[in-house]
């Protein structure tokens, strides 16, 4: 590609008279991308998340040992070295391999929580915003009540009743994390509810159900994605906390929080057992936070300050 074609392509993207909807959309995406990629920390965040995805996808290739079966006889609690990069745990399992496989469980948790909690919040928020009146009051009161709860403690209580396990942990976290999404969706809905565009759709006789589903929900998606990305770190930390307390993933799953819990017993002498999984959690959470910040600054220039 010559410099000239790149130049003309850029002009096409940045044209202030886009010829098609696609061109306008691509142009906007391009501007957002330029703003995003100018933020070095955001790029670092994106790289971390890409690395997480890659590691999770190719865990079988990347991990030299089994994540669940260890060499009890010869490889118990070995310090980091050439054979075991991050050392081994009390069951002789390679910690590096467990962390690599743990990436899958981290993704499993954040994705499941997101696809449970975000739609609930979206539904509650758009319905409340579009319907208004009593529906709005009641739904938002419920949302506020959930917002006023301590999330981790509530998740603990839920898991206590549901029984420990990673699925129940996901459920408990999802139940406690939808309210902010509902608030965001409602706020977005309120800004478009009285727009001419929605009025026009109403005049054409679309049902409220269809309007909310086809015309309002799509408008809430981008701010919701930013918020979900920013929440990912919190979700990971909560899941790890539950795992640490023995309420999330159960052994022998290589979940990072549970790995820290099992390393706790040897923390004073074999610190590496707990150190590596904690560092993994820190890095991935940091990645999501950086990415979320960058997305927010790029897509929502109003809040570009912090």
């Amino acid at each position: 590609m010559s410099a000239e074609t790149i130049q003309s392509r850029r002009e096409w993207l940045l044209s202030d008279r886009p010829a098609s909807r696609l061109q306008a959309r691509l142009g906007r995406a391009y501007v957002a991308w330029r703003r995003f990629s100018a933020n070095r920390l955001a790029l670092v965040g994106m790289l971390i998340i890409i690395a997480l995805l890659v590691v999770a996808a190719f865990a079988d290739v990347l991990a030299p040992y089994s994540p669940t079966v260890g060499d009890l006889k010869n490889a118990r609690l070995l310090p980091p070295g050439a054979a075991h990069w991050f050392g081994t745990d009390d069951l002789g399992r390679d910690i590096y391999s467990r962390i690599v496989y743990g990436a899958r469980w981290t993704l499993y948790v954040v994705i499941l929580v997101a696809i449970i909690a975000a739609p609930i919040g979206l539904l509650v928020g758009t319905i409340a915003g579009y319907a208004g009146g009593w529906t709005d009051t009641i739904l938002m009161r419920i949302t506020d009540i959930f917002l006023a709860f301590p999330k981790l403690v509530l998740a603990l209580a839920f898991v206590a009743a549901l029984g420990p396990g990673i699925e129940n942990a996901v459920l408990a976290i999802a139940i406690t994390s939808w309210p902010p999404y509902a608030r965001i969706a409602r706020a977005e809905t309120l800004t478009v509810r009285n727009s001419d565009y929605i009025k026009a759709v109403q005049l054409m006789g679309a049902s409220p159900f269809r309007i909310v589903l086809r015309h309002i929900m799509p408008l809430c998606i981008s701010s919701l994605i930013i918020r979900v990305t920013l929440d990912m770190a919190g979700i990971i930390l909560t899941a790890a906390g539950l795992g640490f307390l023995g309420l999330g993933a159960q052994p022998p799953l290589p979940e990072w929080g549970a790995m820290i819990a099992s390393g706790r017993r040897f923390i004073l002498d074999q610190w590496w057992v707990a150190a590596a999984p904690g560092a993994a959690i820190l890095i991935v959470s940091l990645g999501f936070n950086l990415l979320g910040d960058g997305l927010r600054d790029a897509l929502d220039p109003r809040s570009g300050d912090q």
Binding site: D144, K151, L152, L156, N289, Q306
Partner: protein
């Protein structure tokens, strides 16, 4: 002042009082519904989710007679709504049942352990605010500078680090290697028997009684967990302070203050921060509430005998009454702090009129 002016001032005062009272009324309504919501959720967790709530409360080793009696006491044969009514009534009396683990009423257990948590969270918030506010102010004033970058990274790591892990590493470093701090507990065993707490806040109690050896020992135990919680709240407080300050520093009244010839420090601390202080109060209160919650994991790591450790111990022993009682306790304080901070906001901001 003349009589008329006095009256005018009094009139303003009472208008303000009315405004505060009316918002107080609204807050009471919110407080009550939120508290009922909390009870509804714990009721749901304790009575609806488990297949046999009695078993969930007593464990599976209780004798049949006890099981039957408890079943009747809990009103499990009644319709849901009546059960809930009884549940709320009991909760309002402070009756959360008996803990299987300690065999005490849950409420008396909570009373015993709560001061430890409050002490920890309070110290953590103080650390967080004392460092976080100036850090946020400096980051905003010197926007884009090295200190701004550092504050940002420090904050981001605070948002991203698993606190229980940081606590474990802290123990390795400061307790095992450097021996700067004492082992995980609230006091050395020596003092456990000689020291009689008054308020339950050991630092305070030791200071009141002039037992400085106890004070020092208590300090050596609390300093690391409090510093960790302080770091969490610092991350949040400094970030919010920065954003509030940036917002204030862009206002016209800052230009006016410069035009008056005020010094930069007077402008920053006397005008911008005073304006930012109004929302800051909410942030600090919220971070305090978050620390109460954060204490669950921290207390577990540091064997800190507070509500968090109480809940996790009960969890491990399937002591459902204790878990839910603890949840309600933390939830209530959480709700109270939320409401209180809102109220304080209104009191501090001269612009908030009635409604």
């Amino acid at each position: 002042m003349s009589v008329a002016e006095n009256q005018a001032a009094a009139g303003r005062g009472s208008a303000r009082a009315v405004a505060i009272l009316s918002s107080l009324g609204r807050f009471l309504v919110i407080a009550v519904t939120t508290y009922l919501g909390l009870l509804a959720v714990t009721f749901f967790i304790g009575r609806v989710i488990p297949i046999d709530p009695v078993l969930a409360v007593l464990g599976d080793r209780a004798p049949t007679a006890v099981v039957e009696r408890t079943r009747r006491e809990m009103g499990l044969d009644l319709p849901w709504i009546e059960q809930f009514y009884l549940y709320v009534k009991a909760a309002l009396r402070g009756d959360f049942g008996t803990s299987v683990l300690t065999t005490n009423p849950v409420m008396s257990d909570i009373r015993r352990v709560f001061p430890a948590t409050i002490e920890l969270a309070t110290l953590g918030t103080i650390i967080g605010a004392v460092i976080g506010v100036p850090l946020g102010v400096l980051a905003a004033v010197k926007r884009g500078s090295l200190i701004d970058q550092v504050a940002r990274i420090v904050g981001l790591i605070g948002y991203s680090v698993p606190i229980f892990w940081l606590g474990l590493l802290g123990l390795v470093l400061f307790y095992a290697k450097l021996q700067w701090i004492a082992f995980p507990a609230r006091l050395d065993v020596v003092f456990e028997y000689t020291f009689t707490p008054i308020t339950g806040f050991y630092l305070l109690d030791a200071a009141i009684q002039g037992q400085w050896d106890v004070f020092y020992d208590a300090w050596r135990h609390i300093v690391l967990p409090a510093a960790l919680l302080g770091y969490l709240s610092l991350a949040y407080i400094s970030r919010m302070t920065r954003s509030f300050m940036l917002n204030e520093l862009a206002q016209e009244y800052i230009v006016a203050a410069r035009a008056k010839g005020l010094s930069e420090s007077r402008i920053i601390w006397g005008h911008a921060l005073r304006n930012a202080a109004v929302p800051m109060v909410t942030v600090i209160a919220l971070s305090y509430a978050n620390l109460l919650e954060g204490s669950v994991l921290t207390e577990t790591v540091f064997s800190w005998p507070g509500i968090g450790l109480y809940i996790t111990n009960s969890l491990q022993n399937a002591d459902m009454n204790a878990v839910l009682g603890g949840t309600i306790a933390i939830g209530s304080v959480f709700i109270a702090i939320n409401l209180f901070s809102d109220l304080l906001y209104r009191l501090l901001d001269p612009r908030t009129k009635a409604g």
